[in-house]
Amino acid sequence: MSAGWNSSTRAPDAEDIASCVACGLCLPACPTFRLTGRETASPRGRIAAMRAVDEGRGEVDGSFRTMMDECLACRACETACPSGVPFGRMVEAARAQAEPGRAPRGRLGRRAGLVWLLPRRRAVMTAAWVAGLGAATRLDRALPRRHGTARPPVRLRELARPLPRAQGDQGPAAAVLAGCVVSVAYRPLLRATMRLVAASGHRARMTAPGGCCGALAMHHGHPEAAQTMARQRIAEVDGADVVVVNAAGCSAHMKTYGELLADDPRWAERAARVAARTRDVLELDLAAREGSVGAVAMHDACHHLNGQGIREQPRALLRAAGGEVRELADGGRCCGAAGLYGVTQPELSARLRRLKAEAIAATGAPVVAVANPGCAMQITAGLAEIGAAVRLAHPVELAG
């Protein structure tokens, strides 16, 4: 590690930085460059900033932090890059560098959530009950609403209903990730996932509810916490023939477990094995229930399109279930959810949210397919903002 980096945590790799020739083909693909026109909000600019620090010509200062915070980590630049620059992992490392110098107030809250709460799945479930009670008694309305309106839709009645932990008794063993947000706020999706995975010839077994894959911590500058959560999940799912994940951000992240724990001799091998066996649920050969789904607008999660290359599968699944897929006329631009982006960059996030909601409403479809809980919260809020009555559902819920 060289020059201006803090040696106590990860830093962007010098060879990764050298793999950018600064051609600029990423610029039009980057939502924040499109919104602002600023090189400082572009992938090429962010890499130039990393290069400057790496070469000792710049330092991790407020400018650096803002540039990395403004990034959605949607990885649309990776899809556009002819040289295959691995931007996602570079910006994660750059954020790990940016974290220590943050102002205490925001930093403490983030640490509490990312480093203390998420690795404790029982605490996650307890927090869910508290949020559910708050929503049921409407006490939550007394809380200040600082940032937009995107929040997990936690319902007490849903929390009280047990989840199916095992379904199907034939075929390969499939470990279905319960996840953190999904298992507290999108429980019908988990039920649908178990049903469909089992119906598609697997012995489906669900991991413990509340267990986070660590993606959020990784995206927001806490790689050590992400490693802790990766070890927890690996311990739960190792041994299964396939690890099934129904949230785009989580499947994309779990596929990097091998890299994440490469330097940990006790876990590296298991991590690589789990990563290799991880599949987004939409990558499975799913037996769609014949039905009449009808017109459905298709929202692609960034972490499906970019990095995982999942685009055709959800469309095929919906068509098999009688769906008429309607494309959004926005070229798959990020909805602005992007983990904690709504909190860290409320203004840019709100602009992207509105653009996405308008693109969905413009299709005229009564339902939109959304395969990531972060996107789902953001899009729910966006559709409410513009007063569009469009229902959200995961493709698995529509087809299962």
Binding site: V21, E39, G62, G84
Partner: protein, 480 residues
């Protein structure tokens, strides 16, 4: 060295919202480069959104004694947008409005920050497109295209940018706004529009452009021809044109380039070919059929191992994506590249390519070729790693050898990327003292104080009437 006055940022903040005046060191550093390997230092960066704001910024720069470097998307390949000596960078990336579309001419008035491909997408529903299509068309701006007089694969048939710019609005050094040309066919007086196109930001800032739009061709034929030697591929290109056919595009890629690009696009390019030529013909169905027959016949006669004809629009787009990703894919070979842009007579193409091969060998370097074969516009890319000082010295020497080899057969320095900083000191190879003086006088007539993009295009700090043949100074570290 920074020449800007200390209070400059505050003065500009009185003209623009704070967000659009960039002063923090790390943020300014990002504007020190474009798509080339030259690097300078921006004293300050401003992002105006309107003609009035551009004019006000230019006026204030004059008052503060700051040089002004206009910048589009920063995809330029010759260092034209690289600021020297703490100049003010005027980034036009917020001026992205398509102001007006006139279907009858057909033409469009656009702001300089509109991206080339965005314009074509915006008029697709009218059956029109903007014809010049640089490989970077997804990212480069129309303003930047005007500035470099950009080309592109389809310029073989349709002509380069200057043939598609009907009118311009330009802000000059004192902030005055000039209107040059327009949709009418023949404006009286001097053709100052022609002077501004290709002037690389050295005479003023273009704030609006009237571009010609071109009807989409009714039929298109796209074929990838695969050859076992570069010589055969080069002779094929000349032979097609000698038959009286001018295809819409004829693009060549050599073996090293094919391998790098294929890793990205997965288009099924032949990895064992010495060279491929991507040929496109367009026009009426009958005309396209006739051209396609010539391509097939001449291809076979020159030993094409396979002629892959795109079956549909999807396959055509994939083949073009392969071609247009070439520069960006170079990092799969080495982290930096030094790119040349010479144009040589088509009949000398093969001999120059072979000479470039020898130059690569002599300097022990990897040189990749991807270029507009139809008009003899070469793009030899010397791949290198700038962290390797010994290699960098060899790159500079090889670059000079390539240029001299091209000039020796009657070639010119640049087909479409411009002269900027990187090719500036080679200008005396193709222009004599009188030529250069005339060019300096033309520039100075519009920008008498030398306010716009100084040190670019013409060697030395040449002013009108001065001898300009000596190499000029560049700050240490700007260039190889």
């Amino acid at each position: 060295m920074l020449l800007r006055p200390p209070s400059a940022a505050d003065r500009f903040r009185a003209l623009l919202d704070d967000e659009w005046v960039i002063d923090a060191p790390l943020e300014r550093l990002l504007y020190g480069r474009d798509g080339s390997i030259a690097e300078g230092e921006a004293g300050l960066v401003v992002l105006p959104e309107t003609r009035q704001e551009v004019s006000a910024c230019v006026r204030l720069a004059a008052e503060l004694g700051m040089a002004v470097v206009p910048r589009g998307s920063g995809t330029g390949l010759a260092g034209g947008a690289v600021p020297l000596e703490g100049a003010l960078v005027l980034a036009l990336s917020r001026m992205t409005r398509i102001v007006e579309i006139d279907e009858d001419v057909p033409c469009a008035w656009v702001e300089p920050g509109v991206l080339n491909l965005d314009l074509s997408e915006a008029v697709r529903h009218l059956g029109l497109h903007y014809a010049p299509d640089p490989s970077s068309q997804a990212a480069c701006s129309i303003g930047g295209n005007v500035s470099t007089n950009a080309g592109g694969p389809h310029c073989l048939k349709y002509g380069v940018t200057s043939e598609h710019v009907l009118g311009l609005e330009v802000v000059l050094a004192a902030g005055e706004v000039l209107a040059l040309g327009g949709p009418a066919p023949d404006a009286p007086g001097y053709d100052l529009r022609g002077l501004v196109v290709g002037s690389e930001g050295t005479v003023g800032v273009v704030t609006e452009i009237c571009v010609r739009l071109t009807p989409n061709p009714p039929a298109v034929y796209t074929a990838l021809c695969d050859f076992a030697s570069v010589r055969a591929a080069g002779e094929f290109v000349s032979a097609v044109i000698a038959e009286g056919v001018v295809p819409a595009a004829m693009e060549m890629m050599d073996e090293v380039m094919i391998a790098a690009v294929e890793q990205f696009v997965g288009a099924g390019l032949p990895l064992d070919a010495a060279a491929v030529v991507l040929v496109e013909a367009d026009g009426s169905p009958a005309d396209v059929a006739r051209q396609a027959a010539v391509v097939q016949r001449v291809g076979r006669a020159h030993g094409a191992r396979m002629i892959r004809v795109a079956a549909d629009e999807e396959e055509r787009a994939l083949l073009w994506k392969a071609r247009k990703s070439a520069f960006g894919a170079v990092a799969r070979v080495a982290p930096n590249y030094y790119l040349h842009d010479c144009v040589v007579p088509r009949t000398r193409l093969v001999e120059v390519l072979e000479e470039i091969g020898r130059i690569a060998e002599r300097h022990d370097l990897v040189i990749m070729n991807v270029f507009h074969a139809g008009d003899g516009n070469l793009h030899p890319l010397i791949a290198f790693d700038r962290r390797n000082a010994d290699q960098v010295a060899r790159v500079a020497a090889a670059g000079r050898d390539i240029i001299e080899a091209c000039v020796a057969v009657g070639g010119v320095l640049s087909g479409e990327h411009g002269i900027g900083l990187e090719k500036r000191d080679y200008m005396p190879l193709t222009f004599n003292e009188d030529d250069l003086r005339a060019q300096a006088c033309a520039r100075d007539a519009l920008d008498p104080a030398g306010r716009f993009n100084p040190h670019k295009v013409l060697p030395g700090a040449a002013r009108c009437g001065e001898a300009v043949l000596e190499a000029g100074h560049l700050p240490e570290g700007t260039w190889l």
